[in-house]
């Protein structure tokens, strides 16, 4: 069984929809919600999977005073950029040129490694640190894309380039094998050419139909069906009995087309009529014969080996090619794979969905990884660290000495929870945990000190200068620990006492949690042990109170401001402490 390091997950309050965005205001009278308050958060509930996050994943809105998780932030794209050349792509280009890099950035279709442009004639081996070639002119002749990892080269699929730059534009015009192909734009222009139309009309007569590319086919089909919807009576009805159900019924068709085209076709006229329409019959109407003759592919399969076929992953990585004819029978062989232009990446800023304040904003420049604004929850709410506590003096209770060791069922174990305060005000923490963990195997949980105060996160130097020596510090610590008198302190200061803080420091407090893990013995009638059901998880309600500036914006401002403008703040959330696995 894999060892489990203790973890703390925090539940983002956004999963309880009523509390979303409501700033937990201590001054406002809280309406009693018995259902809401009595409910213990169950970390094993299926819904909990989606609301629990490590502290590092969470952001914090300073205006709403709420934790914000990746689910409850509104994202805005700041920049689009190519991950390979790190060039920023203006968003206006995206619409016209798609979401891939249109410079010379390509991925290998075999191994997705980056491709480099090399001259075919004087191709130096990229794995060697060879001196530049001086026997032949280095920049001449056709160029090819080569992968330095798997040694794939675009000459394998018969693609060579005349120029070493503008590869994307050159590739768009090349078919695998080196033959030129028309881009979608050129096709469109050709269709308008009257000479070509006459030739096409002649071709239709001789049953030799032109292959349509996907874009043209869709445009033709769309035009055809729009005409059909406008004049449904012209169709010779054949299957009118099926009414609304068939593919050929106008209502279902207009519904489908509105999905794709944005609902411009739902005119009342077509809706009212029920009748069948005829289907497309020729290429001008978007009709395309499926080439079901696969003998060529079968012959190629027989001639080649399995290694020459493309894998599913390779096919998935291929960009959709709307300038290509049709999909039938394509992309079975590695020789049909094309270099993949890099998908663009984005930088996103994050906003609070309620107050629209930006809580995370990266630097717009692609090359910098810094953030202009980044309000991470870790600098606002206390972090919780879990450590098993081995008690030497206690005979009955002992925790696992090694972190990650299995918990013995029905044997009390102790864990040290260290709360660290990141803000510059002292905070008051109140913990609430159910005495028995939810789930089929209820372990007993006792938080020995559920109510304590953590000092402010003051300057480290203040602390160091105030306490001159190690002895003074130790004395101070003892004084703090023994809050109601210091008797009994000298004999055994590692004693567990209810209501006592275990240890405290400048801005942190350790408390002890005692758990009695449940036995995982299955009672008859119960199902088998489910996945991770042996992990001891404690739901814990954390309520943090502090006094902040009333301005609302600067939680982390220096203390000692005007006493009048200070107001009480409260933040409450559920978290889950994963302590370890129970021995089966």
């Amino acid at each position: 069984m894999a060892a489990l390091t203790p973890y703390t997950y925090i539940q983002c309050p956004c999963s309880d929809s009523p509390t979303l965005g409501r700033p937990s205001d201590a001054s406002s009278p809280t309406s009693p919600e018995p259902d809401e308050d009595d409910r213990t958060f169950d970390p094993r509930a299926p819904r909990s999977n989606y609301s629990l996050y490590p502290l590092e994943y969470l952001l914090y809105c300073e205006d709403c005073h709420q934790i914000r998780c990746p689910r409850c932030v509104a994202e805005e794209i700041v920049t689009y950029y190519c991950p390979n050349c790190l060039f920023e792509v203006p968003s206006s280009n995206l619409k016209s040129e798609g979401n891939r890099c249109t410079r010379s950035c390509f991925q290998c279709p075999i191994c997705i490694g980056p491709l480099a442009v090399t001259s075919v004639e004087t191709k130096p081996d990229p794995s060697l640190l060879a001196a530049p070639d001086n026997t032949a002119t280095p920049h001449s002749g056709p160029y090819a894309l080569t992968c330095s990892y798997c040694n794939w080269t675009s000459t394998e699929v018969g693609i060579k380039f005349d120029k070493p730059n503008g590869i994307h534009a050159q590739l768009a015009k090349l078919r695998n094998g080196g033959a030129t192909r028309m881009t979608a734009k050129e096709r469109k222009e050709r269709r308008k050419d009257p000479a070509f139309r006459a030739a096409a009309a002649a071709a239709i007569g001789s049953r030799e139909q032109e292959d349509l590319d996907l874009e043209t086919q869709f445009a033709n089909l769309k035009m055809f069906y729009q005409n059909q919807l406008a004049h449904p009576n012209s169709a010779d009805t054949g299957l009118s009995g099926l009414g609304d159900l068939g593919f050929s019924s106008p209502t279902s068709l207009s519904r489908i087309m509105s999905l794709y085209t944005g609902g411009g076709l739902q005119d009342k006229k077509a809706k009212s009529r029920v009748g069948a329409m005829r289907e497309a019959l020729d290429p001008d109407e978007g009709f395309q014969l499926a080439s079901l003759d696969e003998s060529a592919a079968i012959a190629q399969l027989q001639a080649e080996t399995l290694d020459d076929t493309a894998s599913a992953a390779q096919l998935l990585d291929q960009p959709p090619n709307i300038g290509e004819e049709h999909l039938y029978g394509r992309g079975r062989f590695a020789s049909e794979l094309r270099p993949i232009p890099y998908l663009l990446r984005t930088k996103r800023s994050k906003r609070c969905p309620m107050c629209r304040h930006i809580i995370s904003k990266p630097e717009a420049k692609v090359q910098t990884t810094r953030f202009r604004i980044r309000l991470i929850a870790g600098s606002y709410i206390p972090s919780i660290a879990i450590r098993p506590l081995a008690i030497s003096s206690g005979s009955s209770a002992s925790g696992p000495a090694v972190p990650g060791a299995l918990l013995e069922p029905l044997k009390p174990a102790h864990y040290l929870l260290t709360f660290k305060n990141p803000i510059f005000e002292p905070v008051k923490v109140t913990l609430g945990a159910p005495s028995k963990t939810p789930g089929r195997f209820a372990s007993k949980v006792t938080v020995l000190c559920p109510d304590f105060e953590i000092d402010a996160n003051t300057d480290v130097w203040d602390e160091a200068l105030r306490e001159t020596g190690e002895r003074d510090r130790e004395k101070e610590r003892r004084r703090r620990r023994g809050e109601d008198g210091n008797h009994n302190n000298n004999n055994n200061h590692n004693q567990l006492e209810v209501g006592k803080i275990w240890e405290r420091g400048r801005n942190w407090v350790s408390i002890v949690v005692e758990v009695v893990p449940a036995s995982l013995a299955l009672v008859a009638g119960q199902g088998p042990l489910r996945e991770d059901e042996d992990v001891l998880e404690i739901p814990m309600f954390v309520r943090v109170e502090w006094e902040g500036d009333a301005g609302g914006d600067e939680v982390g401002s220096a203390p000692g401001g005007d006493k009048e403008v200070r107001e009480k703040r409260e933040l409450a959330y559920w978290c889950v402490l994963g302590l370890g696995r129970i021995r089966q």
């Binding site: 075999i110 130096p124 794995s127 080569t146 040694n151 290694d307």
Partner: protein, 191 residues
């Protein structure tokens, strides 16, 4: 700059093997040649510092114009540990990169092959000509790899159709030219 000395005691050098070194060989002072069988290194081959050639399990032969990089091991005694006639035969124009291991036991690495960083060729494997073993790829013991094979991405195979073997050899020859000037050769130490 003062020379750095390791605080560890020098590794116990094994028995000195009988060697047949070409006069055009470039072999660093700190390369390690050990074992009991003969080690033959052909002309214009470059052995980097701290490369290790171990002939304990049988005879080692390295062809012409090869480059054996740092910490590469040729003739590592594999799991079997048996002694054979020809432990490792490395063809011409072979590059054994940093940290790569070629196990002993009638292992053959064909001409023009590149054994990538940290790659491992098992005992008795026969790697064909002009193959490329990408970094950290492994060839199992006794496996036969056909010519022009590229082993990549955790053992996937494909055939190199670039047809640049000649160019690669030329490039390697130029690289060796540079290396000969960079690496002080001391074949006398191993003779």
């Amino acid at each position: 700059m003062s020379k750095r000395h390791s605080i560890l005691p020098p590794a116990p050098s094994g028995p000195r093997p009988p060697t047949h070194l070409s006069p055009t060989l470039t072999i660093s002072d700190s390369a390690v040649l050990t074992g009991t069988h003969s080690i033959t290194l052909h002309g214009e081959t470059v052995i980097h510092p701290r490369a290790r050639l171990d002939s304990l399990a049988g005879r080692l032969t390295v062809g012409r114009r090869c480059v054996v990089h740092e910490r590469a091991t040729i003739g590592a005694v594999g799991a079997s540990g048996r002694i054979v006639e020809a432990a490792v035969t490395v063809g011409d124009y072979v590059v054994v990169e940093v940290g790569a291991v070629i196990e002993a036991g009638e292992t053959v690495v064909g001409e023009g092959t590149v054994v990538g960083v940290g790659a491992r060729v098992g005992a008795g494997a026969v790697v064909g000509k002009h193959c490329t073993l990408t970094p950290h790829s492994e060839i199992a013991a006794g496996e036969v790899v056909p010519d022009f094979t590229v082993v990549y991405s955790n053992g996937l195979r494909r055939t190199d159709k670039r047809g640049v073997a000649e160019l690669k050899n030329k490039g390697l020859a130029r690289q060796i030219d540079v290396l000969r000037r960079m690496i002080p050769s001391n074949p006398a130490k191993f003779a």
